[in-house]
Symmetry: C2
Subunit: 211 residues, 2 copies
């Protein structure tokens, strides 16, 4: 089972590493980081680089496609090479997935038309432009399309999809191995729960956060 995680300049690291550390531990997973060019790809913060071990051309038909988000997503929305790879890979994939604003790339490739999907809470309003139907759920399944909310939600998506593919016991084993028993020190992880002034600040500055 080949899993390709797409990298691009200024992606968000945890968007990619969440599914990598969960779904990527499936017993028969052959996980590969891909990008237009092989080599190190820098995150949004600039101080972390993950190596793309293969080019897009070298991985044309993965079983599972995972598209992270991050401020760099907006520059890729008209990158025909990347969108074309997504469309082609999707024709043979078993699952086509995204985390955070990665769903906007799937949407721009035309893959979410008429489908329920999610994204980073600040980006949900952009989904309808591409014919997708936004939901506030953290992990959204619609046929073979699986989209997750912002950044850390890729861990929940990875475990959920692992359970579907390899069974509940395998997913629980990986949850135990990664000691995923979250105990956030605050309860501010969604716009419904966070203090209103922080939600307002991000809404006013969403361009700064997402682009």
């Amino acid at each position: 089972m080949q899993i390709a995680i797409l990298l691009f300049d200024r992606f968000t690291a945890l968007d990619a590493v969440g599914p990598y550390e969960t779904l990527g531990r499936a017993p028969d997973a052959e996980l590969v980081f891909v990008a237009e060019e092989a080599g190190p790809v820098r995150t949004d913060q600039g101080n972390l680089a993950i190596t793309a071990d293969r080019t897009l051309a070298e991985v044309p038909s993965p079983d599972i496609v995972i598209v992270p988000g991050g401020p760099g997503q907006s520059a890729q929305m008209e990158n025909e090479a990347l969108l074309s790879w997504l469309r082609t890979a999707d024709t043979t994939s078993t699952w086509t997935t995204s985390v955070c604003t990665g769903s906007l790339l799937l949407a721009a490739a035309g893959l979410l038309e008429g489908r329920r999907a999610t994204s980073h809470w600040l980006a949900l309003d952009e989904l309808p432009r591409f014919g997708a139907k936004p939901t506030g759920d953290r992990v959204v399944f619609d046929a073979k399309y699986v989209t997750a909310a912002g950044v850390s939600s890729g861990i929940d998506m990875g475990l959920t999809l692992l359970g579907r593919i390899a069974g509940d016991d395998q997913a629980r084993a990986i949850q135990l191995a990664t000691e995923y028993d979250p105990q956030p020190p605050y309860d501010a992880g969604s716009p419904e729960k966070a203090p209103a002034h922080l939600v307002a600040w991000f809404r006013e500055n969403s361009r700064f956060v997402l682009r």
Copy 2:
């Protein structure tokens, strides 16, 4: 505020990326990945490489030291160059921290003697060998030493420490930006919660998991 995240062969990616994505977003953070040699460092699964941008020698006195764990930790337990860097960096650090079996490296460097600390649940029993006092808590503070439990707990540690350093509002803002509103599909993230047969399997195969 300089934050150094230590990399070594066969570290676990999420151990490092959890604190990176939370504490690393502190307003005045200058975060750098360090290793004995600069260049790509491979994780335990082998299919992910994060670039170490600086050598240990180039970053002698970070304000915050973060040591991830992973199966590769055991090979570093007698690596005097690495342990010596930890000891020296600790003499000037404001916070010395670890995730997962990274605490065993702090312990091997002699930094946790007499201190309360935690580690991956499968490695807790090894802490007393170095004079540390294991606890089952997810994030443990003892003076300037902060240790976190397995893999995903680095996210909770990062947010907790961010709150101490930059204030609750800043930590809540980062929790909201990373949409850290965890909704695991199972409740199996600790040995107390997971099915007994899975806990037993890992205890029997802990060498395979941790080394």
